[in-house]
């Protein structure tokens, strides 16, 4: 019998192997497109982890990914596929922008930030409520609804920054006015790393605690594993699904909040280069485990910021990151069951050896 730790090792080795395979596949692709994968990969690596500045930029990129991945994980634990985190992130940004632009500039910073966060959470949660209600009461696949809502969210941002919220001083730029200083999150001295990272880490550990040692977490796991059994045990299934989606939306919204507050200082288009989708991938790579999510987020944040730095120097299109992510994702999915059947065969062999 394989121990729990060995099982986890095998599961995680799949994640690492699929990342390696992803790099190899994309390397071949880069080679075919006339680029040298070696220089690009070293470029990405040094751009991600080369010095303290690069490292800090990696953490900056990792923060929204972490929020999004944790948000996906909350829903995934109950068997829900919330790919709408991208839209919920944007609505979170909208919610906090509203507070930042309407509250007086003299508001104390802690109150301002708290209100912005609250408003973001409410907006994100409400936006996640749409697919949640449709899933729970009409049995409509939450994936497709939340995917479509991502487009609605992006258009809502566009509408606001081209219309009612556009900065009146520069009509040529689709963006809101800059936030007052009190709406800016505290940063780590001399870098762009901000309070959001700490919040994400706390949420990760809290989530771990809830899943592992509370009744809520236990029931959530049962629901995620077999909703029929949850109904059988008389768990309030619908309430749990809705609460999970609300929480998921709220956590995703915090990513939007931290981006507008700490990084952009205003609402503008291109706020998220697909953090929601990356978060989705990270959650799967980490097998929905909150602590692993933190580690994998930093890794993928590194790719993102590393590739970002190569956009100019190597003329590397940002789409490369998407290719890499897609490749890793596909290898990961394939490896999951391949590993399972492989370890099962190993187990049977060991059993046979024991028996004889």
């Amino acid at each position: 019998m394989l121990s729990k730790a060995a099982g986890a090792m095998i599961a995680f080795s799949g994640s690492i192997a699929s990342m390696l395979f992803g790099f190899v596949a994309v390397g071949i692709f880069l080679l075919l497109s006339g680029r040298n994968p070696a220089t690009i990969y070293t470029g990405i690596f040094t751009g991600a982890f080369g010095d303290t500045f690069c490292l800090s930029e990696t953490l900056v990129a990792a923060t929204p990914i972490m929020f999004c991945a944790l948000a996906v994980a909350i829903a995934a634990r109950l068997g829900l596929m919330n790919i709408g985190v991208e839209g919920q992130l944007l609505f979170g940004a909208i919610g906090s922008t509203y507070v930042a632009l309407t509250m007086p500039e003299t508001t104390p910073s802690w109150l301002m930030l708290l209100l912005m966060a609250l408003s973001a959470c409410v907006c994100g949660a409400l936006f996640a409520l749409i697919p949640a209600l449709m899933r729970v009461f009409m049995d409509i696949n939450e994936t497709i609804v939340s995917l479509l809502l991502n487009y609605v969210a992006a258009l809502t941002v566009e509408y606001l920054i081209h219309g009612p919220w556009q900065d009146p001083t520069t009509t040529s730029w689709p963006q809101t006015m800059a936030f007052p200083p009190c709406a800016e999150m505290p940063h780590l001295e001399g870098s762009r790393v901000h309070l959001g990272l700490l919040v994400a880490l706390i949420i990760g550990f809290l989530l771990m605690l809830v899943l592992h040692s509370t009744k809520f977490g236990f029931k959530a796991k049962v629901i995620g594993s077999n909703p029929q059994a949850a109904l059988y045990a008389k768990y309030p299934l619908k309430r749990y699904l809705i609460v999970a989606m609300l929480l998921s939306g709220a956590v995703a919204a915090l990513a939007g909040f931290s981006q507008v507050s700490a990084i952009e200082g205003r609402l503008r288009s291109g706020l998220s280069p697909g953090y929601g989708y990356t978060g989705f991938l990270v959650c799967f790579l980490a097998k929905h485990n909150p602590i692993t999510i933190i580690v994998v987020s930093i890794l993928l944040g590194g790719f993102l910021s590393g590739a970002d730095s190569l956009q100019l120097s190597e003329k590397l299109p940002f789409a490369t990151v998407n290719i890499l992510q897609g490749m890793i994702f596909i290898f990961l999915l394939a490896s999951e069951n391949a590993l399972k059947s492989w370890s099962e065969k190993l187990r049977l062999k060991l059993q046979a050896a024991e028996a004889s």
Partner: protein, 309 residues
């Protein structure tokens, strides 16, 4: 512009804007009937669109462009089917992975083709039929791909409901164990259905780039692949109903464009949301109605089939 001309223009635009989604939705109907959920339609449409543009640009031949798009579609469909059927992976996740990958690849490879002029397909008036008042100019003053789509819908319907393959297809989607016991290869049937569906989606993508936009832009589909998947839910796997949904979507797009052109005092971004919200709304309404009479369909949808002995 007088009212009839406006309505005719909107309706003709409806057919044009609806056709790519129609093709993808009909393809998804076929695929889902076999029990495979292909959320990669968005990516496959992108791949079809870019392939068609590149081949059309390189060869100057529309026919080759379409064949190439179909081939790419079949290839990606088989990849999805292989992942689902051989590795038994979560089909929602695979579809999203395929889309992320293809949106990356198309963006990467398409950079050089943005804004390039290509050979596109011109309209062909169907003799006699195009003379019909209103209907003639809406439905029969289109291009050859639209006419092809008119043929594809009944053909798909016939394939599902009138053939030996269709019988296997439905059985595999509803009760794969029973189908296997009757000697039907679940693997092969699902592979064929997924490849055919993906080919139709790629054709839809090709239509988008060759006819609709007449060129390539990054992320040209703007969610049409997801919309197609949503419409199949609304259509409860009936290609005819999928047509209805696709044209409804086309109408929303066409109306939005015409209103913008006519200088309506509504933000284009708000108008732009309408098609997406419409699909969600239509889905909700149809589900509420279906609740009373649940549609017979692929009950084994997206459940990995593990042969048991």
């Amino acid at each position: 512009m007088d009212d009839l001309a406006f309505i005719t223009a909107v309706a003709a635009g409806m057919v044009r804007s609806g056709t790519p989604v129609l093709l993808a939705a009909v393809g998804e109907c076929l695929t889902e009937r076999s029990g495979i959920l292909n959320l990669g339609m968005e990516g496959i449409m992108l791949a079809g669109a870019l392939t068609a543009v590149i081949v059309s640009y390189l060869t100057g031949n529309i026919f080759f462009a379409i064949i190439a798009a179909l081939a790419i579609g079949a290839l990606i469909g088989l990849l999805h089917a292989f992942l689902c059927l051989y590795f038994h992976v979560n089909q929602v996740a695979t579809g999203i992975a395929v889309t992320i990958l293809l949106s990356g690849i198309t963006a990467f490879c398409g950079i050089d083709y943005v804004g390039k002029s290509i050979h596109s397909i011109s309209a062909y008036k169907v003799p006699w039929l195009s003379e019909l008042p209103f209907f003639g100019s809406v439905f029969f003053n289109q291009d050859i791909l639209v006419y092809l789509s008119y043929a594809i819908v009944p053909l798909t319907y016939f394939l599902i409901n009138g053939t030996r393959f269709g019988l296997s297809l439905k059985a595999v989607g509803e009760e794969p164990r029973a189908a296997a016991a009757a000697g039907v290869s679940v693997f092969r049937t699902r592979c064929i259905a997924t490849a055919l569906g993906a080919m139709l989606a790629a054709l839809g993508g090709a239509y988008l780039s060759l006819v609709y936009a007449q060129g390539w832009t990054e992320n040209i589909t703007a969610g049409r692949g997801w919309i197609a998947v949503g419409l199949v839910m609304f259509a409860s796997w009936n290609p005819w109903k999928a047509v209805l949904g696709a044209y409804l979507f086309g109408l929303a797009i066409s109306l939005q464009l015409r209103l913008q052109a006519a200088g309506a005092d509504v933000s284009p971004y708000l108008l732009g949301m309408a098609p997406y919200l419409l699909v969600i709304l239509v889905l909700a309404v149809s589900k509420l109605r279906q609740k009373k009479i649940p549609a017979a369909g692929p009950t084994a949808l997206s459940i990995p089939y593990l042969p048991q002995v």
